[in-house]
Symmetry: C2
Subunit: 457 residues, 2 copies
Amino acid sequence: MSDQIRFDLSQNDIPRFYYNINADNPVAPNPVLNPATLEPVTPDFLSVLFPMDLIMQEISTERYIEIPQEVLDIYKLWRPTPLMRAARLEKALGTPAHIYYKYEGTSPSGSHKSNTAVPQAFFNKIAGTKALTTETGAGQWGSAVSMAGKFFDLPVEVYMVKVSYNQKPYRRFLMETYGGEVYASPSDRTEAGRAMLAKDPNCNGSLGLAISEAVEVAAKSNGTKKYSLGSVLHHVCMHQSIIGEEALKQMDLAGEYPDVVIGCVGGGSNFSGIAYPFLRENLKNGQRARLLAVEPTATPSLTKGIFAFDYGDTAKMAPVVKMHTLGHDFMPPAIHAGGLRYHGMAPVLSSLVDAGYIEAAAVDQKSVFAAATAFAQSEGILPAPESAHAICAAIKEALDAKEKGEKRTILFNLSGHGHFDLTAYNAYKQGELGDSTYPDELIADIPNHLPKVPMVA
Amino acid sequence: MSDQIRFDLSQNDIPRFYYNINADNPVAPNPVLNPATLEPVTPDFLSVLFPMDLIMQEISTERYIEIPQEVLDIYKLWRPTPLMRAARLEKALGTPAHIYYKYEGTSPSGSHKSNTAVPQAFFNKIAGTKALTTETGAGQWGSAVSMAGKFFDLPVEVYMVKVSYNQKPYRRFLMETYGGEVYASPSDRTEAGRAMLAKDPNCNGSLGLAISEAVEVAAKSNGTKKYSLGSVLHHVCMHQSIIGEEALKQMDLAGEYPDVVIGCVGGGSNFSGIAYPFLRENLKNGQRARLLAVEPTATPSLTKGIFAFDYGDTAKMAPVVKMHTLGHDFMPPAIHAGGLRYHGMAPVLSSLVDAGYIEAAAVDQKSVFAAATAFAQSEGILPAPESAHAICAAIKEALDAKEKGEKRTILFNLSGHGHFDLTAYNAYKQGELGDSTYPDELIADIPNHLPKVPMVA
């Protein structure tokens, strides 16, 4: 057999610690504000929604946080994940670059989301939480939480944006097979939902409203139910650091070190997961890998948004944080990368981009699907539309290296598979994908949509 | 970290040879007959449909057939596949049995079918074939051939049963993303299709008719197009032997040897793939693993069918072989395990069951989905309905061991994932799955549906 293209670790190599970038972060953190008072939050405010262990992780500056044995035992179902060299894609591109990808789609729920769903379920379980509530758009996150909840015998209520609930039944059936209870949002189970239904009985829902419903159920449960979020928050991003820790070891097996590390960004968790361990190597061990966060031109929070304090959700129930934002009342275009349609961005990632430690780029929907199709046809794996943003940027890097006639080692995170996104692939093939650029006049109007936070801004 | 549950091989451990059970087969083979004359076929007859390398594999008695480097290079995209211990399922069942599964769903097309699609595409490519034709029901096989064809720059025409074409668009979109051309069958591209449309313009199609269309296109192409089949034939089953060869090494890593090896059967290829290397160990090296083929009660060819000469397809264009059959004009009930709805069974497997070297059992659809759901909720992976037949039998073995208070080591083949089968899971959850037992009066009538082959029968 000729050259290896897969670099496997054994189960003994699963990381035993989450890496916390805040131990090494050269950028000072900004306060988190109560959405009602715009004053810094207290742990009490957060403890209505989250168990104390996760709140402590959220604010920790410890460098390494031990992963509980019960969580490691679940990770073994799919970790370590493969790191592959995309040799056939390189050949198809005719590039001298070496392209590697870390593949998180081998998790049973199909994406990196399981990496944080499991510890979130575990820390809730040991805190005595009786049920989890969460929202989901396309369903990747809802699937991961439903699976993780079942593993720890913790019921899960998922508020799924109604248009997705009706149009994407496969994801819903998957959540239900794992035992999740899935409700179309707006539902009649919450005040927020009922108010919306009274106003518009045919409302199709939005992610912002689904968050409000899930948060409301947890907030009114007298502590029995807690809320679970799939990105943005620091503890969520930190759980994903196991991706980058494994990738560091696997690149070592491959005998190369990346010149550039690429991930797609919606809320920022899968990118943070692969990039922060490499950022640590940049900051502490003299490495110089470029770190590139890739977002859709339709939701250009990092590349065109404003770095400012804003609400985490449309209904102003979630904390106010300083982040790159398009405005909390941002209405995203109907692009197919449902996981990247958030108005904001993880605050830590935002501050690192702002300070120049991390690069950002935006790619348009048609280029993304062209890249996804080229990848499927050369490497076999059908990527999730979200992950295909990273592929698109990786291909651009590889073609740039080709043009310049230089060797370049590229690593990207393939955060999930696209088995539930085939209507989007068909729309691309049928030429039905429209322009996905967010209008400049709406960008110019963002400041008018932000909360007035004079004391800290 | 506590006990390992995944037993990984390196890419250097990918088998370099297909194992041919016919080198060690204690049962003499039966002749293959021309469907028109009912006389033994000549290679000329087969060469209209298949390249000579595959015909030679079909009739070979060499024990090991070398896998070409070009095929190994593609296998590296997903092989070796994982072998897992289902420790969480064991715990849920409270059984002293140890349950292992070989997972073929990590192949990009989602099942074991890629293992034979790739060599079939390769041997056609080097023989100068210009395009492949094939049929597909639910789409698992069509996806594998579409992907393999693209890898070798060989166009693929897929005739997809019309009811599936309309009801299961995701599989179709996947084939098209790989570059496959997918036609609803009956189509207006063949005489067989046009004749059926003339008779019934609203005809929903059948697998038998789709085979006839694919065979007709190849047969009338003056040798430019060849036909590709996903199971039943000996060379197809032999390509799958890499599953069992890997599993033997992985059980060794686990430090155990199976008491029973289980696979589901439709045409017989995935079962043959995992079982024949273990049968070799039984025949030549003194092992005593039981080998259990599991089929649906809806298509009980091994457990209730007749071991007799019959046509391979409904339209009597495919060769006549001696096999367990329900009759070539068998109309399968509309069960959800679309891959197991064939009327016959691989001839070699049939003869080994007939001679007592391999056991057979049938399980009903509701038990299969109950087993599939229990598996998903404990192990995470959502199994294909076909593969869930093997899970169902494995659970029965584990519960039998529990009842008898005995240790038992169970290995089954999880041949694919169920990401495209979620409507079936929902039907199960909604209580909509009907009785799937094939009626005894139809079983009694099978002899009246067989060709009269007095000279060899």
